[in-house]
């Protein structure tokens, strides 16, 4: 995923459910169509909630990287 151009990165490590998810919704809303938003999250709930939300909200889950004690979740705004 190193070739993906990330428009904005949210560092939500250390914050708890529903924090990372809510921050992502806020940032995606204020982004342009085509932007890729990365969320860094160490929260277990968000690891499940974010992909589910992305699918329901009809955006694109570019990928999830599992790093050292946290996830880096990439979301592309489609509309």
């Amino acid at each position: 995923m190193s070739d993906v151009q990330v428009t904005k990165e949210i560092d939500a490590r250390g914050s708890f459910c529903p924090g990372p998810m809510m921050e992502l919704i806020r940032v995606v809303r204020s982004s342009e169509v085509g932007d890729v938003v990365a969320v860094l999250s160490s929260d277990q709930g968000s690891r499940r909630d974010i992909p589910t939300w992305v699918e329901k909200a009809k955006h694109e889950l570019v990928g999830i990287e599992t790093l050292d004690g946290y996830d880096r979740i990439l979301v592309k705004k489609l509309h």
């Binding site: 250390g14 708890f16 529903p18 809510m22 939300w53």
Partner: protein, 142 residues
């Protein structure tokens, strides 16, 4: 899928942090699911929404009294946002309305100006039950 958004109704009767947090977090969950939320705050729950009150609430239910101080300490140490900040964030992102109970407001002689701005209006129980009847789920947090 119909165009009408799904709705969640919540009654907050209890005014301790262990009732207020679930209300705020479940409201956030509803917002994630594109649901509109109507929260009816009554009795002790309503007291937590009086001007200046939200950040003063530090106690937990009597049942969990002995664990309260430790829970609050852990939450502060881990920088968990307050129930009120969590609820405000949900309201900023989603379609969330907080209604104060007219009966309780009358009983304690409180008007709209006595509440934090997060409270949208003061309504009667009939109006709230109509909202609940049209909601997918209603939660009662006593």
């Amino acid at each position: 899928m119909s165009d009408e958004p799904r709705r969640l109704a919540i009654v907050i009767f209890g005014g301790t942090v262990d009732k207020l947090y679930p209300a705020a977090i479940m409201t956030s969950g509803a917002v994630m699911n594109d649901m509109d939320v109507d929260i009816f705050v009554t009795f002790w729950g309503m007291m937590a929404f009086r001007k200046g009150a939200p950040y003063q609430v530090q106690t937990v239910s009597k049942d969990y009294e002995e664990m309260g101080a430790e829970m609050m300490r852990v939450m502060q140490e881990k920088k968990v946002p307050s129930w009120y900040d969590t609820l405000q964030q949900a309201k900023e992102i989603g379609n969330v309305h907080v209604h104060a109970c007219a009966m309780t407001a009358d009983l304690f002689e409180l008007g709209q100006d006595d509440f934090e701005p997060i409270v949208d209006d003061i309504i009667g129980v009939g109006e709230f039950i109509d909202m609940a009847a049209n909601a997918a789920t209603t939660l009662y947090l006593g």
